[in-house]
């Protein structure tokens, strides 16, 4: 009989579990029902009692590692915490969210308890065996895998399951003691990249622009065409920057970019100053999950195939009606000048707000 451990962790505030953690709880409940398996939830948090109420109604045994050392993500402490939870629960299947915090340590924990790990799991189900699907070659090849070795760790990509939303209830939590190694790493905190909105190099114009919004309904993808010469023979990078930032402000969209647009600053070409490699989607960037995606001035496989794999509803604005990358990949392609369309769109979105 399989035994399932779901590992979860608190968010930056320490006051609640992350959404991805709650999604993993849902996956654990589903899998436990399919396998008729026992379910344990292991919590890593500075104060587990403060966050355990959210999963008290899951019908699972609750284990926790608590203390100030577990407030911030850190390899040595998180690995020790998860190892202790695994040893206490003795599971055959371990589910955990594919968060930065657990992705940093899960393989190490699997190694320490003699287990195996697969990550970026897109689905998990139980038939004759437990099967999981994941992507290879950056979302170009999809595989269904299984393992007979145990314990088997599966890191679930966020956005696939609904977040567990049981009624908060008083929780009975078993605290697990952890033997911590000597701490050699001090976490200073979270920093947002400084991005210059106007590209004038003036330090006074540096602001923190939160252009990456994982929870946004819409992903806006900017391609290199924004910085190329326009019909008047000139580049209009500053205008492009204003249009894009205006759209992000009006729509609350998340901003993605093609690799070529991010890279071209190193080649001495005009750049959109608020873009960093963090915005990049595709082969060497992210493959975010959003309900809708609007690509503009993009041409190539990266934005349309790899970076858009998990975008449900896709539209594009392009000057090229024969672009082979949009055909079969986007749902609607508007053949138009993106500068003109976005200016109109921003006007309409702002007008709708007022």
């Amino acid at each position: 009989m399989e035994t399932i451990l779901v590992l979860v962790h608190a968010d930056d505030s320490g006051a609640a579990l992350t959404k991805a953690s709650l999604e993993t709880v849902t996956a654990g409940i589903d899998l436990a029902a399919q396998l008729v398996a026992s379910l344990t939830i292991g919590i890593v948090s500075a104060d587990a009692n403060a966050v355990a109420a959210a999963v008290a109604s899951a019908g699972a045994r609750l284990l926790a590692v608590s203390g100030h050392d577990f407030l911030q993500p850190r390899y040595s402490t998180d690995a020790a915490a998860c190892e202790a939870l695994c040893r206490a629960a003795n599971p055959s299947i371990v589910l955990a969210p594919q968060s930065a915090r657990f992705a940093r340590v899960a393989a190490a924990v699997a190694f320490r308890v003699g287990g195996f790990i697969d990550t970026h799991i897109a689905s998990v189900s139980a038939g004759p065996s437990i099967e999981a699907t994941r992507w290879f070659y950056r979302q170009r090849v999809e595989a269904t895998i299984t393992r007979d070795g145990r314990p088997w760790f599966l890191l679930l990509d966020p956005g696939i399951h609904n977040a567990f939303a049981g009624e908060p209830a008083p929780a009975s939590v078993e605290q697990i003691t952890v033997d911590l190694p000597q701490l050699r790493t001090t976490v200073l905190g979270i920093r947002a990249p400084k991005q210059n909105a106007h590209g004038n190099g003036d330090a006074s114009s540096l602001h923190t622009w939160e252009t990456i919004r994982p929870e946004a309904n819409l992903l806006f993808v900017a391609g290199a065409g924004w910085t190329k010469k326009q019909p008047d023979g000139q580049t209009h990078t500053s205008e492009a920057a204003d249009l894009i930032l205006g759209f992000l402000h009006a729509s609350s969209a998340s901003l993605g970019s093609s690799k070529s647009l991010v890279d071209q600053g190193g080649d001495g070409q005009p750049v959109l100053p608020f873009l960093t490699h963090m915005n990049q989607i595709g082969q060497t960037g992210a493959t975010p999950r959003h309900a809708k995606g609007l690509s503009t001035c993009c041409h190539g496989e990266e934005p349309h195939v790899v970076g858009w794999r998990f975008i449900a509803d896709r539209r594009a604005i392009s000057l090229d009606p024969n672009c082979g990358w949009t055909r079969g990949k986007a749902d609607v392609v508007y053949i138009a000048n993106a500068f003109e369309v976005m200016a109109e769109l921003n006007k309409q979105l702002e007008a709708a707000k007022t």
Binding site: Y75, S76, A100, V141, R147, I212, Q280
Partner: protein, 275 residues
């Protein structure tokens, strides 16, 4: 006085991103059709790690008695690696440690990590207490973000950082690291010093220009190393593939050519606002 760094970079090779990939099944399990003849490149994020390693070593050259060193450990077919090295060797200086093994993203990461750890542990001249183990935080073939972490555990390294975009080495040997976390932010940490594992994201460096002199110097050790490369057979372990296929989803694309910008904007505004 300059600190001498000892950096081992783990890097595989992957098909050129512009290639169309067709999965197939061979005697060893799943693979890619014509994989051995597809043009290959150094794994992009691992390449970032290599350039960052070379930059760190250049900034901290050490002393003539104790110079900084960069090793590049790669597990893949040595014939393919030789092709890739023709380009990579011209970028930065390193000492190649090839392991002749299978290509592709389908072998089990656990077996790959064990083979890499064994090769690193056997490196002559490596002081493991000073080791900075670099690599890509995820590969472009398996994309698991597991191998480097497992190598670190094999080697007993208890400070690891993933999604690294920056390292600042300080005079006392400690270093500050920026790691990518959710929502486009970085987590900043300070580690007292090596040994440590750093799985690199893009970093901050542009791809170095080709330098034929660096290439010639590198090739003096690369060719003998390739000739002496030991073979590694990776056990399949407990991993079994039930199916491997390209995604079949093909959308019916509607091409809209005859609307004015204002009309398109109206359509998009309604679409954005719709649930």
């Amino acid at each position: 006085m300059s600190i001498a760094v000892q950096i081992v970079v783990c890097a595989g090779i992957v098909p050129d991103p512009l290639q169309v990939l067709e999965p197939t099944t061979n005697s060893n399990g799943p693979g890619l059709k014509n994989e051995m003849i597809l043009p290959a490149v150094l794994d992009p994020w691992a390449a970032s790690a290599l350039y960052e390693a070379a930059n760190l070593a250049a900034k901290n050259p050490g002393t003539p008695q104790d110079p900084s060193k960069v090793w590049l450990v790669s597990l893949c077919p040595k014939s393919k690696l030789q092709q890739v090295m023709m380009t990579v060797a011209q970028k930065v200086s390193f000492q190649l440690v090839p392991i002749d093994g299978p290509i592709g993203g389908f072998p089990d990461a656990h077996a790959t990590a064990a083979a890499l750890a064994e090769a690193i542990a056997a490196l002559a001249g490596l002081d493991r207490n000073r080791l900075l183990l670099f690599g890509g935080w995820e590969s472009a073939n398996r994309s698991a973000g597991v191998t480097l972490q497992l190598v670190g555990e094999h080697l007993g390294i208890t400070d690891q950082f993933q999604g690294v975009d920056q390292i600042d080495l300080r005079g006392d040997g400690s270093f500050e690291v920026l790691e990518r976390v959710e929502a486009g932010k970085h987590q900043a940490s300070i580690c007292v010093g090596p040994p440590a594992v750093l799985g690199w994201a893009t970093g901050n460096l542009p791809e170095p220009r080709n330098n034929p002199q660096v290439g010639m110097a590198n090739m003096r050790n690369i060719m003998p190393a390739l000739q002496k490369a030991r073979s590694a057979t990776l056990a399949t372990g407990s991993l079994k593939y039930i199916s491997v296929a390209r995604p079949r989803q093909q959308r019916t694309t509607k091409i809209v050519k005859d609307l004015t910008p204002a009309q398109i904007a109206s359509e998009l505004a309604a679409w954005i606002g719709a649930k």
